[in-house]
Symmetry: C2
Subunit: 208 residues, 2 copies
DNA sequence: AATTAATTTAAACGTATGTTTAAAATTTGA
DNA sequence: TCAAATTTTAAACATACGTTTAAATTAATT
């Protein structure tokens, strides 16, 4: 039993790193299993298929992030019923950075996986996310709507998707961007400083 | 000779549609050539490799868009030296929509290809774009900097990349988003209305 | 019209992929 | 301890991919 969990975890650990770096379809099971130092067939044995492995990789992050984010949102709404948009978005920072404590680079890995899930796989991961975590998402959307009550719900829908694009695209190319920023402007960034940069941008855009 | 051009164009037309819809690595040469109704080997004959085909597909759009965008930016700066950020961004709308006249759906196709180029291919398309169209990009960045002279250049760098993410991610999932907006809010959008929605969002975020 | 060059074609090549199989090894439970 | 269930392993399978080859066809040139 400890052997089984160990193999599953080794696969998940190797897979999430490679998926985030290279994308789902550019990452072969042979590359994953060689990095994880397990047998090729163990992926199909433990997860059934590559598609289900992808979902398992994402679920491990979402299962931690979504409840934590929902808790933060709920807490903010109770403490400050008139919380600003920036405060709502900032409430997500702690749950995002908490992913870093599980695994070094976990925050960026999660956001990269999320972005690849939305872009690369034609809808089936989108469906997986909205069907499994719809309650948490609704909680967040409601909090945003309450913080900017004068904005039509349709506009909020669009702007939150703009925001999703901003975040996942930025995280997907965060390595390259941090390198350029260091070379051209002498900035030394990490994932948290980038998140701190993006919050005013998206808060301003959603509230415009 | 007319036969050669015809085959090349048929390949490019089929490839750009499939690349935009499904991504580069998810689109096989066999699928492209069957849709284009040409022989499989003609891709390698005319373009050398799949990688060069991808670049050719992107170049066809960039060669039209980049000079047109540069002209619009130059014109705006001459007419209104103190043009606002919204005016700068809006100057790109006409060149973007002009792509629509070449091919139906050309605007969205272009932005989707751009996004996939940045995300999917590890840097080699990014390099292709910045090295071939660096002058045009610099012109645009300079215009943005002049319109918000009080913002540090490093911040503008980050926010313009946030903006790129917003736009390409939105366009990559524009079909799904327009469907949802229609179902949930009764909105009937097209590519232009979505662009008009995104401009205040990004202008506000960059200027914040 | 004859020769040369350019293009198209069908077939094969070599490699890589996700998955399955069946035997070996290991762990579990009575 | 020993039989049963679980897990690991090596090998093979079937398929798909980008690319190359060489012959057939078409177009261009003289």
């Amino acid at each position: 039993m400890s052997g089984r969990i160990d193999t599953k975890t080794k696969i998940l650990d190797a897979a999430e790193k490679l998926f985030a770096e290279r994308g789902f379809s550019e990452t072969s099971l042979r590359l994953i299993t060689s990095k994880a130092e397990v047998n090729l067939a163990s992926v199909n044995y433990h997860f059934g298929s590559k598609k289900e492995l992808i979902r398992a990789v994402l679920a491990r992050y979402l299962d931690q992030f979504m409840p934590a984010a929902a808790d933060e949102i709920t807490a903010i709404r109770q403490q400050k019923p008139n919380a600003s948009l920036t405060e709502i978005f900032s409430a997500l920072v702690a749950p995002l950075l908490a992913l870093e404590r599980i695994r070094a680079g976990g925050t960026r890995t999660f956001l990269q996986l999320l972005g690849r899930g939305y872009i690369e796989s034609q809808g089936h991961l989108r469906w997986f996310i909205t069907s499994h975590y719809g309650e948490h998402l609704n909680l967040f959307v409601t909090a945003v709507q309450q913080s900017v009550p004068n904005i039509p719900k349709a506009d909020i829908f669009w702007r939150l998707h703009f925001t999703l694009g901003t975040v996942v695209f930025t995280m997907g190319s965060a390595d390259a961007l941090m390198d350029i920023a260091a070379a051209d402007f002498g900035e030394r960034n990490n994932i948290e400083t980038v998140i701190r940069k993006v919050i005013p941008y998206i808060a301003s855009g959603v509230a415009v």
